[in-house]
Symmetry: D2
Subunit: 153 residues, 4 copies
């Protein structure tokens, strides 16, 4: 395994494990985000536009943009981890490339390099206008994650 | 002005301008964050602990931690800008140093270098246990912001 | 112009302008680096292996890896700038993904987003073993650059 | 040990271990850099001005600035590591705040958080004019490092 994401879907066990973890994230449901795609080394998260996720000009807040980007990258890494492990974000860097507007944002986390301890992901966030079929890159980042063993039950 | 933060409070006009802008940020009120300190080149934002801001282990979500850090840095820069200007985040990088736990988080944005176009801030987030008087650095970052002229009314 | 790099070569004027600038960089010739490809929004720089660019274990030093990555990104942005402008690096972030080994390193700077003031590039560095035809990603980063007008002569 | 740098000098063994490692870095001697201060959690590296470390305008090249910043942070972390371990840079981010000019640059790496696996450092680079006694912050960054066990001899 060299960390290259693949196009086939993740196994049912992996998908179930990630959905269960995602559902325990109070912030994601509070923002209204949902996971829309889980493949080995790649996860998509969608955040619909609503006043509760805006900054002072009515665009998506950089904090909301970053939150779904960070989460997408974390679960992208997690798809490649064995059972009884957890993923933690070590750090990330994100550029806000354009005003984050659209009917919804789509964050895409993609594993660039999977290691035994550390994994590095690319983070992309697109602003999508459903009616017009437009999809524009509004943020781009890079993230480092660490794998830790789950505490004994 | 060389961008060094000062200890005296910001002017009433600056404080009013920042509070008005903050109140227009749907995300901040949705998360339950509030501004607690506004000085020239330095702004503090507090986020109380609640299930709506957690990740899967019950800690503050990195997205919530980052959202208040980004906002604190943005307004720290904004305290040094002239009227009829706006501030936009160009990019930031943040390390999650320790599990973000506590009764509340306190994000501190501090201007490191103020320029005519670009401003660079240090971002720090502390986990605070009110009862115990403990305050621990849980995240540390660095942010680049750009000053833009406000659109004509 | 939306910042997407194109595959045709840059104009002779652009190539000459970049080569002249590169030749004025004392560090690049001191390290032994050279530009090998200049296209609109994309520049490659090669650094041969030699003891003068190593760290303590004999691999390429992260500082050398970063220096050619930063320079490749800067000139990639510069290919899209008008005459009488200069490019300055605002900031960059780079992950060292694997030990940087090989007969030479190849840094590839690619414009992700070109703006009037700020440009964002992706930075990639590959370790290349000439004899074996192997080419491995050893570093990956992201960079923000600013366009400034040249001082009057 | 909570990673806070201390003001007393490092032990003779630590200083010797770091100087021996530094002397094996081909790049540092090729650039003309030298270590000037080693304390627990803090290391200084100085780089004198010379044409071999410049960019196209005659300032210190961002690659040279970054190389000494990365190295200062790496050895700052290394001062806190036990014997028979090595330090590797995972990633860093650096803002170039001002043109890097001066008789020499001084890079200061300071441990912000020391962990068993990962350590985070603050990176600062100052441009120093010896005659005028001026010392100006020209770059500021943040770095993540990993501790690995030395291979068996």
């Amino acid at each position: 395994m060299d960390g290259q994401p693949q196009s086939e879907p993740a196994s049912p066990e992996t998908r179930a494990r990630i959905r269960a973890s995602f559902d325990r994230q109070g912030l994601m449901s509070h923002l209204g985000a949902r996971i829309t795609h889980i493949a080995p080394g790649r996860v998509h998260i969608v955040l619909p536009s609503r006043p509760e996720v805006t900054q002072q000009h009515g665009y998506f807040h950089a904090g909301a943009t970053s939150a779904i980007a960070d989460t997408a990258g974390g679960y992208a890494a997690f798809t490649l981890f064995p059972e009884n492990t957890e993923v933690l974000t070590v750090e990330y860097k994100i550029n806000l490339l354009a005003p984050a507007v659209g009917d919804h944002l789509e964050a895409v986390g993609t594993v660039l390099k999977a290691g035994r301890t550390l994994t590095v992901c690319r983070l992309e966030v697109f602003g999508v206008q459903d009616g017009e079929g437009s999809r524009k890159l509004v943020a781009n980042g890079q993230q480092t994650l660490i794998r830790v063993n789950s505490p004994e039950q």
